[in-house]
Assembly symmetry: none
Amino acid sequence: MKSERLRKKSLDEMIDKHIGEIGTEKRDNFEEELRLDILGQTIRRIREDKHLTQAQLGEMIGVKKAQISKIENNLTDARFETILKVFRALNAKISFNVELMNQNIQFEQ
Amino acid sequence: MKSERLRKKSLDEMIDKHIGEIGTEKRDNFEEELRLDILGQTIRRIREDKHLTQAQLGEMIGVKKAQISKIENNLTDARFETILKVFRALNAKISFNVELMNQNIQFEQ
DNA sequence: CTTATTGTTTCCTAATTAAGAAACTTGTAT
DNA sequence: ATACAAGTTTCTTAATTAGGAAACAATAAG
């Protein structure tokens, strides 16, 4: 069956085939959703590790608990600074490692 | 051409100057405490290295050149998705490495 | 079962990003 | 100098985040 053959392919190949090639609109949307999903999951994971409620985390950065909920569930495209504030409040060091060719530009927030 | 010679410093030259020559320890393990305003400068450097105008970069991600200008000059707190789009358009892989106690949570764009 | 806590969702409103457009400035080339 | 391209700034309007508040669901504890 097709599904058996597809199972042997790599995840990238499957995504290429079923979602679309990189660069296509459909693929771009998929990649973006995937990424934002991971972001919310990550924030939730760290927050729960620190035993903080959404309300407590929100208070720390001047954001309502409703906003934290939306960020964690990927229901909003928050502002860049807001996302950084979240990580700062969680005392999580987030570094942006920009890989360009063979060079690395790394900076932390 | 004259314009080529008069162009601003390339990304390579910037990194050489500020981080170190290729092969040096400092260059290999670049870690520097930087502020948010570096984000705009980083985007500008990469864009110029790719010989893209602000208008061209904006077109690639559905943002006006005025917005690119504001982002590069840190005159706006853009949305998280917009910043990711910029790096994606510049073909720069940006990974978010969240360090939390003993664990590392890493996810890439 | 009742109560409290936490998280989700919805309403309205305020604040801000971004579009769209244009004017202006700066820099480069002829 | 003049023309052109690139970047900056400003304006109005549209779209969206976030505040403020409240209702609601889910869970756990008493």
